[in-house]
Subunit: 174 residues, 2 copies
């Protein structure tokens, strides 16, 4: 009755990416209804030196792609950060979800005690044990950028709530 | 080489709570330096119907307390939401970290396949398998409110970065 590394990573990241995609759908509908240029939403940031919405989405997607690839012991593909529309960002999220499906769960499951090496900024490298990397780096970073994207849109007046953020989680409610 | 439920929860939540406490220290210093009443920061929200900073801190703390208690199979204590100062919120975080230390790791480790029942709002109940509850409810909710608190302070001009958010994680950097 222990937790597998793959169960703690792949479905979690996929649900989050899909939730973000559905939030972007709501953002597109909101922009249309309010006659806001969607690009305005994509360029909104909570403070001038924070990432804008588009970049938050790209980074959340890359946290998922890079984190899970490194746990699986493979080099993650590089995706260009060239999205300028909501549809393109949704495609980036879908491509990332599809990539996660290609990763071998067995390889991820055996990564808890393996040392993971990963780039930190342009020149540094980080080293963490696999389970620490997932618990203390991949997941917090992923949720950080997911929440930041959500927060930018809430700040712009989009009416979304915790269920939009959590997405299609396996829960029974009475 | 699997991930234990206790390793994926207790240290993760403790590091996050301590990181938030250190961020509140920086908020207090910032308020003093800029001659801002700290209560203004605590009452700031990113949109009128979002939680303010004080409430984000309380909810993050409760996500950690309630989530880990339910995984351990014990009823979490209720803490009053009566904090009005940064010091009081820091005490709430410290009390929560101390509470997490009282939980039996063995009980948490055996919770992956156990059904967890938890209140959802004032009248509903949620039911999830233990590992799903941790992966898809406790951790996303915890990081959501941690990030929201961070985002409010960034929006107020506090200069903090990703390291402040991640806190004292077990990482080696070269």
């Amino acid at each position: 009755m222990s937790l597998s590394m793959s169960r703690a990573s792949i479905p979690t990241l996929q649900i989050g990416l899909n939730a973000l995609s559905a939030i972007l759908d709501k953002a597109a509908a909101y922009a249309a209804a309010k006659k806001i240029d969607p690009a305005v939403l994509l360029h909104t940031r909570l403070f001038p030196n924070m990432f804008d919405l588009a970049r938050q989405v790209q980074v959340a997607a890359d946290n998922a792609k890079n984190g899970s690839a490194r746990l699986a012991g493979v080099e993650p593909p590089r995706y260009e950060d060239n999205e300028t529309t909501i549809d393109q960002l949704k495609a980036r999220l879908a491509k990332t979800v599809a990539y996660l499906k290609t990763l071998e769960h067995k390889a991820i499951d055996s990564s808890a005690d393996r040392e993971i090496t990963f780039p930190l900024g342009p020149t540094n490298k980080g080293y963490m044990k696999g389970d620490d990397y997932l618990n203390h780096f991949v997941l917090p970073n992923f949720y950080f950028h997911l929440t930041a994207a959500y927060a930018v849109l809430r700040h712009c007046g989009l009416e979304i709530g915790k269920q939009d953020f959590l997405g299609a989680i396996p829960i029974k409610v009475t």
